[in-house]
């Protein structure tokens, strides 16, 4: 039994996104949360490249992926800056301590 390339890649995409979401659901460390976001983005980016490949527009797919890389690197940067500031002001990166806003 062989698994086709698109199937493999789409499983990889969903796998990366799934693992990222699982991390968001379970982790308590803010830096880990940002790691999880990066994993999510890798998956989505791969989906765009795959889509380009499947429709014969690899170049277009790549072009989109570059924009995604830029955007999400910036998200990561802002996230890390927030994390640094959280550490400075609150003193911990534990998400359980970031629950003062509730109800």
């Amino acid at each position: 039994m062989t698994i086709s390339i698109p199937t493999t890649v789409i499983i990889m995409v969903l796998g990366l996104i799934g693992i990222g979401i699982y991390a968001l659901l379970t982790t308590r460390h803010l830096i880990k949360v940002i790691v999880a976001l990066q994993l999510l983005v890798k998956g989505a980016m791969l989906a765009l490249v795959l889509a380009g490949r499947l429709t014969g527009q690899e170049e277009l797919g790549q072009s989109l992926a570059i924009t995604v890389i830029i955007a999400d690197t910036i998200v990561a940067v802002i996230g890390m800056a927030l994390a640094v500031q959280v550490r400075r002001v609150i003193g911990t990166l534990d998400l359980r301590s970031l629950t003062s806003l509730r109800r």
């Binding site: 493999t8 890649v9 796998g15 992926a65 690197t73 802002i78 994390a83 990166l93």
Partner: protein
């Protein structure tokens, strides 16, 4: 088969990145996953983006992580859960299974068409609006980091002082 191996390896790296106890290791596993994703992209016929992913995703972001981890320090968090573990499994598998059922039949039916433009044309001409907007995003990022992390010589609020004290 090669694709399956890469996929499996990437997923293992991802899992390790999530599971790793130390943040530094986590960042390194992430870099590994990133490199494998870049490889897969290369195989899918996207060499340019593979290079960029390798340098930015696996390189720059990892450096940033190391930097951030240095600034914030490692922190040992006890093992208490945030939400019940079974619930997260149910949610995860529910969503993934549904998405797979929806998507898989459609994804293999797509066909390879004709390549009609070069990467350079598409990136700099067809998609120039996206490209221009990247500059705006970078600007927002720079302003964000400056805004968040610039030196705090200004007044500390009373609550802040209490917390420090």
């Amino acid at each position: 088969m090669f694709h399956v191996l890469i996929a499996a390896a990437a997923l293992v790296c991802a899992i390790q990145a999530v599971r790793a106890a130390r943040l530094l290791l986590s960042a390194l596993w992430l870099a590994g996953a990133s490199a494998l994703v870049a490889l897969e992209m290369y195989l899918l016929g996207a060499p340019e983006i593979a290079v960029i992913e390798l340098s930015v995703g696996a390189g720059l972001v990892t450096v940033l992580f190391v930097f951030a981890i240095n600034l914030t320090g490692e922190e040992n968090l006890d093992a208490r859960r945030t939400i019940p573990r079974p619930l997260s499994w149910v949610l995860l598998f529910g969503a993934s299974a549904l998405l797979l059922i929806f998507i898989l039949p459609g994804i293999n039916q797509s066909e390879t068409g004709q390549v009609y433009a070069t990467f350079r044309e598409i990136f700099w001409e067809d998609r120039q609006l996206d490209t221009l907007l990247q500059i705006l995003m970078i600007l927002a990022g720079v302003l964000g980091v400056l805004g968040l992390l610039s030196d705090q010589k200004t007044d500390l609020s009373p609550t802040q002082k209490d917390r420090r004290a």
